[in-house]
Symmetry: C2
Subunit: 228 residues, 2 copies
């Protein structure tokens, strides 16, 4: 893997894997875009090799400046077999459909981040606890201090991977279809986008919850807000 | 790959890859669940091997009874290098957060389908057209007959893969947290779920669209409806 030199630490390094080969206009090399995409979601798709074939599993993640923390047992099985095996973690937000005049120009508005590397299985107890804190707070800010934190037995039963955020790529597509100035514009067809919006609903109490226990403010406040 | 015999063609075959090893209660072997999950979305995550490492890319798909049709150039590059290489296609719908009393029992309500196999790159023109029709109608029902369909040049420039739906697995988690009857229930903490809902917004016209062209009924009708 050869990095192209960059002066700017906020520019994502261009490697053979991260250099955009097609739809170049959709690629971003701005680390801020990477972080924004990661921060807007909490479920990633983790690609690992299992018995010589790729397996893609959805799982949850969190991050700090340097590491992506990924919850996962499939990857740990794979890594146990080959500790030097690379993985790929992809986070995608679908923002809507791009409905062009021609089927060929149809597409999707989306933001996607892809992180490549060889992950570490976190074994240090303090690091695992901190990783789980990041992961929990990433999915539900405020929940780490509200809920009961993991005890040693639970910590030991949890598999947490750390993947460097160094080698990553970002793709973003937004806006109108691309055939508005093409010959197809003469067809007189409607063209535009159909946005897709994800929102948090109202909290639903566990049926086993005794009456009188109300949802905490950090959960209630999220209802109705945008996700993604 | 050894299939377990099943009498029922609507039961997903159990292979080494599809047999659920953990969280067994979340596995479904009902082909109707697979189809429902595939039909509820239009973006999948495709895992392919590129230069010995897994790469996971978001892309669009459609299906018929037997095949998943996947749009993709990354996979085709990989397949050109190794036509017998397996891929994994995963479709995930995130239904909400599971907020338990303990961090350890936190989770996600979701529906996920995973399809494994060696895809074919579709070369036959009629089959490619039919696959693209399925894919287009899958994302936006009504759009195939409304928009201009691909000409031969566009068809040749489009890479479409067909992946058998034979080997697939499904995982579903729904409902309340699992620690309502545990010792942690005594902590007096709120627990429940925070649902996540995706809805289509109102169609946004291409700024280049001449005035007087209104969005077609099949697009307008979708605004405000649930997705996923």
């Amino acid at each position: 893997m050869t990095y192209t030199d960059t002066d700017d630490s906020r520019t994502l390094p261009q490697t053979e894997r991260t250099t955009h080969r097609r739809l170049r206009e959709q690629g971003s090399t701005d680390r801020a875009d990477l972080e924004a995409i990661l921060d807007a979601g909490f479920v990633c798709h983790l690609g690992v090799m299992v018995d010589g074939a790729p397996v893609v599993v959805p799982t949850v993640y969190g991050r700090d400046e340097r590491w992506l923390y990924v919850h996962g047992s499939v990857a740990s099985r794979s890594l146990a077999a080959d500790p030097g095996a690379a993985v790929c973690v992809t986070v995608t937000h679908v923002d809507g459909l791009v409905l062009a005049r021609s089927v060929f120009e149809h597409g999707v508005n989306y933001r996607s981040a892809m992180v490549h590397g060889v992950p570490r299985t976190i074994t240090d107890e303090a690091e695992k606890l901190e990783g789980l804190r990041r992961l929990t707070e990433h999915a539900t800010p405020g929940q780490w201090t509200y809920a009961r934190q993991p005890n040693r037995k639970e910590l030991a039963a949890t598999t947490l991977l750390a993947l460097s955020l160094e080698e990553a790529s970002v793709k973003i597509r937004s806006g109108a279809p691309d055939d508005g100035a093409s010959a197809d514009a003469e067809l007189g067809l409607w063209a535009g986008t159909l946005p897709l919006n994800a929102r948090w609903g109202a909290p639903t109490a566990d049926p086993l919850l005794p009456t009188g226990i109300t949802a905490p403010a950090h959960v209630v406040a999220r209802a109705g807000t945008r996700h993604g």
